[in-house]
Symmetry: C2
Subunit: 325 residues, 2 copies
């Protein structure tokens, strides 16, 4: 049986919304239920289930570990929002706003243990591999987050450093989700590695697309405010390339906008976007996204499974790539 | 071979100080090395090694998981210090003071994953039991921390609630350390459970002793300032009992001291200590400590191992019980 993306999405959403923590005190666990219920696309558990299903194995057995990855992902959002002092996520107040900073710290910590509990709910024959996979990759996510924070204080971040950072912060957890689905299906290790690499490439394409949409997205469909990264001097692929490629005049203009603290938001966005346009960064960025996307598809096509069984995974990848939000 | 507490302490300290995290960026891992190096008595890994050794098994095989528990314990201190806004620990600046709050959050998160990596470095036959033991008990520690924070906002905490809170916050990790040493030694599960209960009782006695020393300790030998708990209105066993047992006049006096924000520290300490003395709380507290200590020794004596092999564990328990700091 090959399940559709929609069917598995519904199964995951139902399982996430029904996740209850029968432990006390409520002051510790209510914020966890809240953080999990707020939503999102549930891409990571979906990747795990799609992969297990691709190999023809029982998706229900992969559900708990898949939700464990989703819990971990939401834990990182919870602590990231606190560190970034972000007050809203997906249109709802963040945990440290709805409760307070200490609640966000401790509930986040508890979420990480909860994530381990879910992820390790697997048969003992694959447990060592699952734990190694999860611990190594969750650590990479935190390393990526630290690089990201460190980069905010620097103006000389290279393109290679940036790619390394988003590999860690974003791509490895997608890769881990896919490989976990393969390990849970007892797939050959070569296929599991190919799916991991597929995830790395899809993740890079996904994050670069996110950077691009922040500037060139359609305000009507893009979920966040256009230009938010520009306003906040976020070191995106576009800004890093611009700092590297700009001539003396453009560089002076960029540095001026980065340094001033009081400004008109739209004026800053338009001025920096003008430089991006002059440097042809939209096309350069789209080409790089295309490169990673094609590399991802190469990995997937090498997986030793009938093409027919790969179509839902490809359909999800296309949704992620050609999204306008 | 039966190793002494001193010998195993040195082995652990050496291993902790040599623990290196060969991962980047340094901004994430330097605070972890710092937090671990600052010290403490390393009681938890010592309990694990003493237990493994009691059963005549190789302590070196227990070293990594034992250090994993120490890493987890230091992670809780790191986040607790941030939540409590404590600037110093063991005479050194805390991580959020030496670096900043975000560093303390993210490095703490990374420590938890590192703890899992160490604890799960065991043979696959016992891995499921080790993970279940670790996840369940680390979650209890966080539950205890949340109860503790919740109790700070209440004046009606009962003795039973307090014992439950310190069971979770302090005793279970000691119990977990002991049981882990038994599981690592492939000891019979009955013995592992007896050691867990031994740890719960020793932990309760230990924490009640800590509460007592804060008021009645010798300022020359006690590590912290005498009366710190009184100054901060900390809901200790003594304060909870005092609120419950005091007459109308004593209660009014207690509530007055708890509510005023500006006061002379020594005057507050002396006034509250006078009420504790009137209520005979030192003796009541000592009797309860004795009760838990004897219950602990009962558990230990029921463990199916020659008495000769228990003497180092008993020696450590005595050190913890009859300490004056």
């Amino acid at each position: 049986m090959l399940y559709s993306v929609d069917f598995l999405s519904k199964k995951i959403e139902e399982a996430v919304q029904n996740t209850s923590f029968d432990l006390k005190p409520k002051s510790l666990f209510d914020p966890i239920s809240y953080a999990l219920s707020v939503g999102g696309k549930r891409v990571r558990p979906l990747l795990t289930l799609l992969t297990t299903n691709m190999f023809g194995k029982d998706v229900d057995k992969s559900l708990k570990p898949a939700i464990g990855i989703e819990i971990f992902h939401n834990f990182t959002l919870l602590h990231d929002d606190l560190m970034d002092k972000s007050d809203m996520r997906r249109g709802m107040p963040t945990v440290h706003k709805k409760w307070d900073a200490n609640t966000a710290i401790l509930s986040g910590d508890a979420m990480m243990i909860e994530a381990y509990k879910y992820v390790t709910s697997v048969t003992s024959d694959i447990l060592p591999e699952i734990i190694e996979l999860f611990s190594t990759n969750t650590m990479k996510v935190l390393q990526g987050q630290q690089f990201d924070m460190d980069f905010e204080k620097r103006l000389d971040v290279t393109e290679a450093e940036y790619i390394e950072m988003i590999t860690l912060k974003t791509a490895v957890l997608l890769a881990c989700s896919l490989k976990m689905g393969a390990v849970l299906a007892n797939a050959p290790s070569r296929d599991a590695e190919l799916l991991y690499n597929y995830g790395i490439n899809i993740g890079l394409a996904f994050q670069l697309k996110d950077d691009l949409l922040d500037v060139y997205g359609d305000p009507k469909t893009f979920g966040k405010n256009i230009g938010g990264d520009i306003v906040n001097n976020k070191k995106t692929y576009l800004l890093i390339k611009a700092l590297k490629m700009s001539n003396e005049k453009q560089l002076a203009e960029l540095l001026r906008w980065i340094s001033i603290e009081k400004f008109d938001k739209n004026e800053k966005i338009e001025s920096i976007k003008k430089i991006y346009n002059e440097l042809n960064l939209k096309l350069i960025s789209e080409n790089l996204i295309e490169k990673y996307y094609l590399a991802a598809l190469d990995c997937l096509s090498a997986v030793n499974v009938a093409n027919e069984r790969k179509k839902e995974l490809i359909s999800l990848s296309e949704n992620l790539m050609y999204r306008e939000k």
